[in-house]
Symmetry: C2
Subunit: 574 residues, 2 copies
């Protein structure tokens, strides 16, 4: 075992023990200096990603098998795709490509990696194999892919990975790991966006619920791709430039018990001038608010008031009240109104109310009525529109249940149900050999759904006259592409055995070559560009395919040549 | 945005762009050299974990609020606990402590971190606050915790975190992130172990389905803690010393189409001697097996035979056959028998059959009958006991459904349902302020379940005369501990308002102080030690609490003093 720790003398050894992989992993990446990252993208010795071992052992046993049989150099192609749309929906967003390319650039095995692989393989494994592993990298690998953020469908490859059999086999598990969750959470985010409509602000706040630190960062990044506006995760903000948001937690509110604790107490008007004793001013306004809202003054929690007052003095231009630490209607909202109205007298506008428990839509509607009452009574038109932010285990179901009362909600924070994707926590992508040494290959299992489509392929998205995609067509790579305006025959997967005749108004080639000769060979979009592409790609998709429940399945079809090849291989195996 | 990428001239910029956080994160950890990790554990400048920003923005806005109010130094205590056992079960395994301690050791903010925080806070934030942030670390933090791997219950703190209010507030999100998933997946693994019984081998194989690369590593590590035997993840093996396993995938099998492709062809007997043409020998044995098993020879797939033969030549001492690429019974098993019997003639024993689709238990039983037939016919007693390994989306439900036929299964590989915990993908731990500046605090929300227990506490596990734990008792820290053999009054949480009178036969203090004065102050167990502790802790728990469905809830109770404090604070707020 990897733990040299033991006695009290060496407690520091914990960091070298088994207890902190995300700290240790660090050291293996230390050769990736920022300088090397912005330089040219050829792989140089010493610029290794050190993630070559983030794979399943059987990739190495197979690699040895290929090598022993002298087949390691055979040209092979794998396709990465998924079998079913996640969440019983009608689409997915493809994501993770950028990370796959970064992994490929740095792909190689260090001496320590190779020593470990040696220890894990049966003794007697030929020493020359490990010498060979030292030379392995992605310099002979070619990757074509659907642009990141695109709407994608079952069976259409997200990635096509070509290269020497041994190398492209070794890449499998890592590529799957990088695409699976990225695409899943981007799709999940897109569904929340579809449900919430274009106007509500959506914030990802799943750090504490995510499956590990990196799961959290991936969630922030790909939720943004899928249409979220903000994240609570500061590191994700720093890393990816995603706008971050956040104000206070309940612990801040409960940490106060009385107004006497508030200091400093003075706050100057926004336009300048003599500072005033803000706790006094807020207390005065609280009395008025209580009277107006018919809330007993004595039921208002003073610690909560102190917390709000203190926060308002600290952030007078961005005061938000978290109103559910005690009673929402009898304490939280009156306290918010008192403090926000006091701020208003000094020329500051509160930025919001936040609610983290209970029936969110119903309470939001009630809060809106109270804000409106203050707005009218104190002649502050903007006050009724103070944004209401909600969170509390929000799921697709709770969003659907918001109904008309939900229209009073302006911003929704989503954690667990966004980042862990409980409706379907894995996309289930597969990576299947489709050709080796010039021969098309397929898995002819007894489970129909696990069968794969053979051969090197091209994929085309066919659009109707309105520009809407209606079919993705898979063809053999050496076929001439379909042409706009020309009729073609298509065998729709999972549909009747008869061909369909269709005439596309426009034809788009789905894959681009992103990686060749060890280099990234296509300009990569920035994260906001990926996000915009995802939004545009979704916009063009027909509403029937975007329905979250029982969507109309999008057609994925084969050309006649591919259909014939499939039939031939099936028959040959019987 | 953080992406300087753009044109074809600089494709290498992708690695600095938003697309590869787990590679970039690397550079921020580069100051953690292995040398620094095994050295003393005092935090030195330059030995920063760079994960201080893996937190929610509101921690920083609250920190500024505390600092502005001059409250940042106030002594505070937070408790990390969960509200309900995961998976509707009766227990959880506490895990993640080692990673929390490593995080604490390195906790501090770099200049770049502080600059980023400045950019995320409202303009006008006092410059002196950022100077203060430069001095922040965990040197005044004290952490007491339940030993990693212990059986734990709702409301009993896994961690008690004491220190200056501002600092312990900043730690919240990261600690939650580190404990939540670790404990969840360890518990999930323990449930699979309980279901499978002590004898079957369990292998974690969730890398490709996990929520990101680090999610995968955490899954491997904490599944092992929860009672799994192996992982497929090579990096997890290298990092944590977990035994790794793996043989071949379907792609290996489909990459072969004919025996002529097999090379080399010669294999020497185990005891030495003249090498024989192994494809010929295997073909001979295949004929015999087909005859015995009454399988038509012409239905046996030759590519599959070639793959098995090639693999057997490569790994004669560890041949395993993946039998479901084509027909399991008409091709896979006969091919396995042919190759394994040929190996047997040369003195080698095959190590197993693997099955990755269909009805696993039924097929395993059928395969066992075929192995038995060969065993009898060819007088190889060990042949009937060749281990059968299965995988295919195995869940708790499918394990339960195995029934008696499942007894023919020796090893189970579990991926998605283990690592993504689809039954409940987040443990939902909370981190709540229980005391500040000497005053007990609690969250008195309208949702009863979200209420917290106030005050600095101690926790005791009470055992009966048979050594079985029957109650965890929460007391105020300054109370004298309960004594074995002495009657005490206990108010059980969530039960009747009357006190229960109990006499523990033994009393165990649950928490130990692991971190003090910036140092880890308790020897940390190795991963196998944590795993053994988890097994022992589970063994001691009564069977009624270990039932996977409708378990008997374990009692968590308060002493009279804590009960009175809770009532007093509740009444004071009303």
């Amino acid at each position: 075992m990897g733990s040299p720790a033991g006695g009290l003398q060496l407690p520091g050894a914990l960091a070298a023990g088994p207890s902190c992989h995300w700290l240790r992993a660090a050291t293996w990446h230390s050769s990736w200096s920022p300088a090397s990252q912005v330089g040219g993208c050829r792989m140089e010795p010493g610029r290794r990603s050190r993630l070559a071992l983030l794979t399943d052992l059987y990739q190495f046993t197979m690699a040895y098998g290929y090598w022993r049989a002298g087949r390691h150099w055979e040209p092979a192609e794998f396709e990465l795709s998924f079998r079913r749309c996640p969440f019983q929906g009608g689409f997915a967003l493809g994501a993770g490509l950028g990370e796959c390319l970064a992994f490929l650039r740095g792909f190689s095995l260090s001496q320590a990696d190779i020593e470990y692989v040696r220890s894990a393989l049966p003794s007697g494994t030929d020493e020359a194999f490990f010498d060979y592993l030292r030379t392995v990298d992605a310099s002979e690998v070619t990757v074509a892919a659907v642009p990141e953020g695109s709407v994608v469908f079952p069976r259409v490859p997200l990635l096509q990975v070509k290269g020497p059999l041994l190398v492209v086999q070794l890449l499998e598990s890592t590529l799957l790991c990088l695409v699976n969750y990225a695409s899943l959470v981007a799709t999940n985010a897109a569904r929340f966006r579809l449900l919430a409509g274009p106007d509500k602000k959506l914030m990802e706040m799943g750090l504490r619920r995510a499956q590990g630190p990196d799961g959290a960062l991936s969630a922030s990044k790909y939720s943004y791709v899928g249409g979220f506006d903000f994240t609570s995760n500061v590191l994700a903000g720093q890393l990816y430039g995603i706008p971050v948001r956040g104000t206070v937690a309940h612990s801040y509110v409960v940490s106060f018990s009385a107004l006497a604790e508030v200091q400093p107490r003075m706050l100057a008007p926004r336009a300048g001038g003599e500072p005033v004793d803000f706790p006094c001013l807020a207390t005065t306004w609280l009395e008025r608010a209580c009277q107006l809202l018919r809330v007993p003054r004595e039921g208002v929690n003073e610690g909560e008031l102190a917390a709000f007052v203190s926060y308002a003095i600290t952030f007078p231009c961005s005061f938000q009240g978290l109103v559910d630490t005690y009673s929402v209607m009898r304490s939280g909202v009156p306290n918010f109104c008192g403090v926000a109205l006091a701020l208003a007298q000094l020329g500051y506008r509160a930025i919001g109310v936040r609610l983290d428990s209970g029936d969110l839509a119903r309470q939001a509607a009630a809060i809106r009525r109270m804000l409106r009452a203050c707005s009218v009574q104190f002649q502050l038109p903007w006050f009724e529109a103070v944004p209401i932010a909600v969170s509390n285990d929000v799921s697709e179901q709770s969003l659907e249940a918001f109904g008309t009362e939900g229209s009073d909600i302006d911003m929704i924070g989503i954690g667990t149900h966004l980042v862990t994707c409980p409706q379907q926590p894995s996309l289930g992508c597969i990576y299947k050999l489709v050709q080796v040494n010039g021969r098309p290959r397929m898995k002819l299992t007894e489970e129909e759904e696990k069968m794969t489509l053979p051969g090197c392929k091209a994929a085309y998205r066919l659009r109707d006259a309105a520009g809407r995609p209606f079919m993705d067509l898979l063809a053999l790579a050496d076929e001439s592409p379909p042409r706009a305006g020309q009729e073609l025959e298509a065998w729709v997967l999972g549909a009747s055995p008869e061909a369909l005749r269709v005439i596309p108004a426009a034809v788009e080639t789905l894959h681009r070559t992103y990686f060749k000769d060890g280099q990234v060979c296509e300009p990569l979009p920035s994260l906001p560009e990926v996000r915009s592409h995802a939004a545009a790609s979704l916009r063009s998709l027909g509403p029937a395919h975007k329905r979250l429940r029982e969507p109309e399945p999008y057609q994925v079809a084969m050309t006649e040549k591919l259909h014939v090849l499939l039939q031939t291989l099936r028959q040959a195996s019987q």
